[in-house]
């Protein structure tokens, strides 16, 4: 018996069992999950232990997350380009319609183009961050300009991950990936919006408003992309699972790593897992409201979602941090702002879901020709 032929046949069978497009999409999504794990670990490390260098283990998770997503995106773009040059059919289930990059030098499926650009941007902002730390020291400030640049770059990769799965939204793996990708982006965005602290902090809490915007936007979007009922609820449940896992993982990982490198835990830590505590626990209620109001104008669902989050988040902080209620004027003004940004997020979320539905191959007019980006 020809062993080589037998093994090749086995590989072919295995390859046939994996739906087309699932493998590279999984690598991109896996990369974004690595980034999220690195972020929650890193924040907890600074909160509970302290010292920083460029090569801490949480940082390596952050770097490797973008590397995995970026390399997977690059491989897909190169394979698509090669297929186009030899005149083969380009299957748009792999990341959506291919667009031309640098003229027609490369043919890039639009989802992988976005995820890859995010990863490349991460590299550039890594250099910017390194220069910044050289000038200002290794401050553990999450909302420094280069850090926000890095977080925004990872967010773009996460948007690309949602796109590559939404392209296959007619298939089960596409729906699952869209849910996990949107949940990952919601959890991650709770840190990115801390950059809004740079805005004047008056009677409204800009970070709360930003978190509200991202939650309502992505839940509404998921509700529209996944046409069967329950898309928003599935995302909220996935966010809740991430929150629960990180609630245990983040402090545990910070302590294990501290023990491994011989550093003590700080005196007077509050013991609260930082990133998970930023995620609104009311998301499941918001998701149910969005699902129930899916036939109503998006602005109404958005207002309801915005109000739920901004009214309950201070209560969550009281419970988690044993803190006190904000002043009444701040509480009400932030809730009013939540209603406004929620309305905007609801409208945008519904429109974004239409954009993502356009990525599905059944709606393509041409699958062979690459057009200019």
């Amino acid at each position: 018996m020809d062993m080589t032929a037998s093994m090749a046949a086995g590989r072919d069978t295995a390859a046939r069992n994996v739906p087309r497009g699932l493998l590279p999409a999984s690598f991109v999504l896996g990369g974004t999950l690595l980034s999220l794990v690195g972020l929650t670990w890193d924040i907890q490390w600074h909160s509970d232990v302290g010292p920083d260098t460029f090569f801490t283990l949480p940082h390596l998770f952050l770097y490797s997350g973008s590397a995995v997503s970026g390399i997977a995106s690059l491989v897909v773009v190169l394979l698509t380009t090669a297929a186009q040059r030899r005149g083969a059919d380009i299957d748009p289930i792999v990341g959506g319609r291919a667009v031309g990059v640098f003229g027609r030098t490369f043919a890039a499926p639009v989802g992988y183009l976005v995820s890859g650009v995010g990863a490349a941007s991460f590299l550039l902002y890594g250099l910017w961050d390194q220069w910044w730390h050289g000038l200002y020291g290794f401050d553990a400030v999450i909302d420094s300009p280069p850090h926000i640049g890095l977080l925004l770059s990872i967010s773009i990769t996460m948007v690309g991950a949602v796109m590559v799965f939404a392209t296959a939204r007619d298939q089960r793996w596409g729906q699952i990936g869209t849910v996990v990708g949107a949940a990952t982006l919601i959890a991650f965005s709770m840190v990115t919006v801390i950059g809004l602290q740079a805005l004047p902090n008056g009677i409204v809490r800009p970070v709360t408003a930003g978190a509200t915007f991202m939650c309502v936007l992505l839940l509404t979007m998921a509700c529209g992309v996944i046409t069967r009922r329950g898309g928003a609820i599935a995302v909220a449940v996935a966010v809740g699972l991430l929150q629960a896992v990180f609630w245990w993982f983040s402090p545990w990982a910070a302590r294990v790593y501290a023990d491994a490198v011989g550093l003590p835990v700080r005196d007077y830590i509050d013991g609260v897992p930082s990133l998970p505590a930023m995620i609104p626990m009311s998301l499941i209620i918001v998701a149910v409201a969005i699902e129930l109001l899916r036939k109503a104008p998006a602005v109404i669902a958005g207002v309801v979602g915005g109000l739920i989050i901004t009214l309950t988040l201070p209560l969550q902080n009281i419970w988690v941090y044993d803190s006190s209620m904000p002043p009444t004027d701040v509480y009400l003004a932030t809730a009013a702002t939540g209603a406004v940004v929620g309305a905007l997020a609801g409208m945008l979320g519904r429109r974004f879901s239409q954009m993502l539905r356009h990525l599905a191959p059944t709606n393509e007019t041409s699958t062979k020709e690459a057009s200019h980006a």
Binding site: V117, Y136, G137, F138, D139, L152, I156, H358
Partner: protein, 170 residues
């Protein structure tokens, strides 16, 4: 697929393996000190860089003459209406004294560092006044923020393009 997964796991393992030798932390290197009298206690305040500049992080150490054992308290740094206070905790990389690790003061000006200490000799309060913090180094913050938010504006541009090309409901 299995080979790809093994490849990914191997890469992660390599990263974890390389992290161990890279995780060495610098000792606290005090280059300037000031004395503060807080009632019955004299505290030596140490700085790992001098002079101080806004936003430039450094290690602060707070060392009572007769050690930190049996004492507790808090430290409050203030400039005008701006105040940041916290309990006196041991420095993570110099456990025999209190301190703040890689911490920066956000704005230039004459800062005040106030100590409230309780210990075997009773309570004491003292201040280090006119701690000069110079202007921040580097480019203006507006420029730094402009550079750092380019990905956001890129994302908005992508959304605008996609918006125009997807008007037809599906």
């Amino acid at each position: 697929m299995r080979r790809s997964v093994w490849g990914l796991l191997a890469a992660i393992g390599l990263l974890l393996g390389l992290a161990a030798p890279a995780s060495a932390y610098e000792p606290v290197n005090v280059v300037h000190t000031e004395k503060v009298v807080a009632g019955p206690y004299t505290v030596t305040v140490g700085f790992s860089t001098w002079p101080l500049k806004a936003m430039q992080s450094l290690d602060f150490t707070f060392a009572p003459d007769d050690g930190i054992a049996g004492k507790q308290g808090n430290v409050i740094m203030s400039l005008g209406r701006q105040r940041q206070g916290e309990p006196l905790a041991r420095h993570p990389r110099k456990r025999d004294v209190w301190g703040l690790d890689v911490r920066s003061l956000p704005e230039p000006g004459d800062w005040t560092v106030r100590f409230n200490i309780e210990g075997p000799k009773g309570t004491g309060t003292g201040e280090l006044r006119d701690l000069k913090v110079m202007e921040q180094p580097g480019p203006p913050m507006g420029l730094s923020w402009a550079i750092s938010t380019i990905p956001l504006f890129g994302l908005i541009a992508l959304i605008v393009i996609a918006w125009r090309r997807t008007r037809r409901p599906v």
